[in-house]
């Protein structure tokens, strides 16, 4: 017989360890247990990659200017063996953008440099803009000169001020059918560049800027082209596609006055990509951090590169899903198809949201089952059959994406977050159950899986769960303890009370 003694000791140790270290983190670093008293911090990481040509190397990255709605907390760089110089944030020359310069005497091969910036959103904060000079007229070649003049002649009478002129021009450049002059000009200049030139022609101060969309968990992002127009002593942001937009707290201007984003000498094939994650951190810690950036907890996931952090935000939710599965299977007795398939489905629901996720999951599985019926006629070996199903699943997913995009349902695009190999296996398993045990069993197991996945999703999607799982990694010791405990539960499952209902 198994003795419960050592097991209980093990569970107790895990629980104590988890709770005590969580309490320690709470006391020492003021990480709150509840997500409520928090402020959003955006961590932005720019990753520079280039190929050094075995000689002296210099890389210059344009840094974002101070701007309204954001408070800069800290910035740092990671680059082995490079000398680094960052322009001071409080430098007096506001007309020039700040730059970060990396340099090295000799470097060869692939180089990776990091620039990491932490900002917090602050709706109250305003940064005074410096009035631009009235621009000189740009030089146009024929036939562009005539085309530009014609366009302006159409737009100018319809506008009241600088901003409405920019707006009218934006519309002219996008309204279908496209104006002949607009088409000609767009064949030479990009839309934001052209707008800036046209506005300069009309003596309106405007500039082509690049901005970073702040969305949690985005990786390998690039900058978006935007246009700014000067009016009423401030810059107004314009989307070169859809027209005027408010300067939102989700958009960080990065490149405004600098002619380049990244310039590398002594290297080739350079590129920059951005990763963004949001963290919720206590206001208290934030205020401390503005003075001293070294107060973050030592043993903390915050110290990882941002790209990895955003992965860990998801990874740390997995144990929660696993706990739900263990509980539902051993305590309740719900049948699922594939032990941890529901957790993976729940993880995809986190990206797709529940209802679109459920719909697209059912869609893929049912279409997949139909195609699988045909595949079974071909008498394939198992591995070949699964491989064929993987391709079928990818086919269905791309079809759904294209069709839903055409119909204007952007939600349909998130279908790509489903783990495709798992879907293929699920279809295969369901098909086998259908053949061997009938459709009833398919609905029991499929329904059970979706039910467990939904529960796991609802639990994982709680702000509190996300907060605890990421900010208190030690909480997973407690989850482990619970799973071990449930793993040794020898009592009846809830479903067995129904099964043995006639044993009286």
């Amino acid at each position: 017989m198994n003795r419960p003694g050592p097991l209980l000791l093990f569970v107790t140790i895990l629980l104590i360890l988890g709770i005590v270290s969580a309490q320690f983190r709470h006391n020492t670093y003021q990480v709150p247990f509840l997500p409520g008293e928090q402020q959003t911090v955006w961590q932005i990481e720019a990753k520079l990659k280039f190929f050094a040509e075995d000689g002296p190397v210099q890389a210059i990255l344009t840094l974002p200017p101070e701007q309204s709605n954001f408070r800069f907390l800290s910035e740092n760089t990671a680059s082995s063996g490079y000398g680094i110089k960052i322009d001071d944030i409080s430098s007096n020359d506001k007309t020039q953008q700040r730059l970060a310069r990396w340099s090295k005497r000799t470097a060869s091969g692939a180089q990776t440099l990091y620039y990491k910036l932490e900002i917090s959103t602050d709706a109250e904060r305003r940064v005074e803009a410096i009035p631009p000079e009235i621009p000189g007229k740009p030089v146009w070649d024929e036939p562009y000169l005539t085309a530009a003049a014609d366009l302006l002649a159409i737009a100018y009478p319809k506008s009241a001020d600088s901003l409405t002129l920019a707006e009218t021009l934006t519309q002219l450049l996008h309204n279908k059918p496209l104006d002949q002059n607009a088409a000609l000009l767009l064949s030479k200049y990009s839309a934001p560049e052209l707008l800036a030139r046209l506005l300069a022609n009309a003596q309106v101060a405007a500039r082509h800027v690049k901005a970073l969309a702040l969305e949690d968990g985005r990786r390998r992002q690039s900058l978006t082209d935007m246009l700014e127009v000067w009016q009423d002593d401030t810059w107004h942001l314009l989307d070169p596609i859809s027209g005027p937009t408010a300067k939102s707290e989700q958009l960080l201007l990065w490149q405004t006055d600098s002619p380049f984003l990244l310039e590398v000498s002594g290297g080739s094939r350079s590129r920059v990509s951005f990763s963004v994650i949001s963290q919720t951190r206590p206001a208290l810690e934030l205020s401390a951090q503005e003075v001293n950036p070294e107060t973050a907890p030592v043993f903390s996931l915050y110290s990882l590169p941002i790209e990895e952090q955003s992965m860990f935000k998801l990874i740390m939710l997995l144990p929660v899903g696993a706990l739900v599965v263990v509980f539902m299977r051993t305590m309740i007795g719900i049948k699922t198809s594939g032990t941890f398939m529901p957790v993976l489905i729940a993880m995809s629901f986190l990206q797709t949201k529940l209802v679109p996720g459920l719909i697209s999951f059912l869609l893929v599985i049912s279409v997949g089952l139909m195609i699988r019926t045909y595949l079974s006629l071909l008498n394939l070996l198992l591995v070949a059959r699964i491989a064929a199903l993987v391709i079928v699943v990818i086919g269905i997913i791309s079809l759904v994406s294209v069709v839903s995009y055409r119909l204007g349902l952007i939600g349909g695009l998130t279908i790509t977050f489903f783990p495709m190999i798992i879907l293929a296996w699920t279809i295969e398993r369901m098909a086998i159950i259908w053949e061997e045990e009938g459709p009833r069993e398919v609905f029991i197991q499929g329904g059970g899986s979706l039910f467990v996945a939904t529960l796991a999703y609802l639990l994982m999607d709680q702000a509190l769960t996300r907060h605890l799982a990421f900010n208190f990694p030690e909480i997973h010791l407690c989850i482990l303890a619970l799973i071990v405990l449930i793993g040794r539960y020898t009592g009846y499952r809830l479903s067995e009370l129904y099964r043995f209902a006639d044993m009286k």
Binding site: M1, L382, E496, Y498, M503
Partner: protein, 328 residues
């Protein structure tokens, strides 16, 4: 909406009903060593070890290992009119093909369907490529002699194999039931597919009660035959065969599936390392009291005969259940 009727867990515990979690933790993982699982998962191996332990099994005619052997099966079949093809690692009765006779070069299945030699070759190649085995592993096909079922169960089973499941714990048979195929179970004797289970008194092999889908029934749903008053012939031999499977398989918690052949008597069909729990409903009693009794025995008797005697003495429901019969 009416809530489904449920049992009270305290009352279940009092009756000693074994649940899935306790079965897995306290019995299967404690008494069934993983290294011995192949003894029961591979029917070819089961057959060999059973014969070594003196347990009768349906006779093995041949083993088909490769696609090439399957292609040339026609020559091998000359003179054999009745046989069974089985996947060695199949589960739940999948992939079993029973041929009763030959007519004009065609093979007649148990349900009357006629197959050509090409159908047989395709079936064999499906078995070999792992269509019926767990996880789709490549398998071998077993060809064995047809069991001629003892006619006692003729009007009780629908098209299928009536078999007797005995739970054997540390070599002692503890509980048994007769399993009858139904139309719902598609000729298979698996309870969760809709087969009927009839609990058997351990002393004499007489029926205690019948269940389908975990609920008591009185009559066979297809033939309408009464399911009470059934008595199994060769009961003691059946118990003995099952008890010997402990030595053969080295598994402490075991389900033995046996059949009665007209000529040869009880034969072992297959062994199961994770036998189901519905047997308790069919027997109207829980497994736990019997299992605990056997756990108190320090060293199990080495003679299967002694273990059978013990089971007959200890686990009979007769005295207690006389009034139960009266109610029926």
């Amino acid at each position: 909406m009416k809530l489904p009727q449920c049992a009270n867990p305290i009352s279940l515990n009092k009756q000693g009903i074994l649940g899935m979690n306790r079965r897995n933790i306290d019995y299967i993982s404690c008494y069934n060593d993983r290294q011995h699982f192949p003894n029961v998962d591979d029917k070819l191996k089961t057959k060999r070890i059973a014969q070594q332990a003196g347990v009768s099994v349906p006779e093995l005619i041949m083993v088909i290992h490769t696609q090439r052997e399957a292609d040339s099966i026609a020559e091998q079949l000359t003179g054999i009119n009745q046989f069974v093809f089985k996947p060695a690692q199949g589960s739940g009765g999948k992939g079993i093909l029973i041929i009763l006779s030959r007519e004009e070069g065609l093979f007649v299945k148990s349900n009357g369907e006629k197959l050509s030699i090409h159908d047989l070759v395709r079936h064999l190649s499906n078995i070999i490529s792992g269509l019926y085995s767990l996880g789709g592993r490549t398998d071998v096909a077993i060809m064995e002699t047809l069991v001629n079922f003892d006619p006692v169960f003729n009007d009780l089973s629908y098209e299928g194999v009536p078999d007797i499941r005995l739970i054997v714990f540390r070599g002692y048979p503890v509980m048994g039931m007769l399993r009858l195929a139904t139309r719902a179970s598609d000729g298979k004797a698996n309870l969760h597919q809709g087969a009927i289970g009839i609990g058997l008194d351990m002393a004499v092999g007489e029926s205690i009660g019948a269940v389908q889908y975990n609920r008591p029934i009185q009559k066979h749903p297809d033939s309408g035959a009464s399911l009470s008053g059934i008595s199994i012939p060769h009961w003691r031999t059946l118990l003995l065969l099952a008890a010997r499977c402990y030595e053969a398989s080295k598994l402490g918690y075991l389900g033995a599936d046996l059949v009665l052949d007209k000529a040869r008597g009880p034969l072992l069909l297959e062994l199961n390392a994770r036998p189901g729990l519905t047997i308790q409903v069919a027997n109207k009693s829980g497994l736990l009291p019997r299992l605990r009794k056997i756990e108190q025995i320090e060293i199990p008797a080495s003679d299967p005969q002694q273990r059978v005697d013990y089971a007959i003495q200890q686990f009979s429901k007769r005295g207690k259940s006389a009034d139960l019969f009266a109610q029926d």
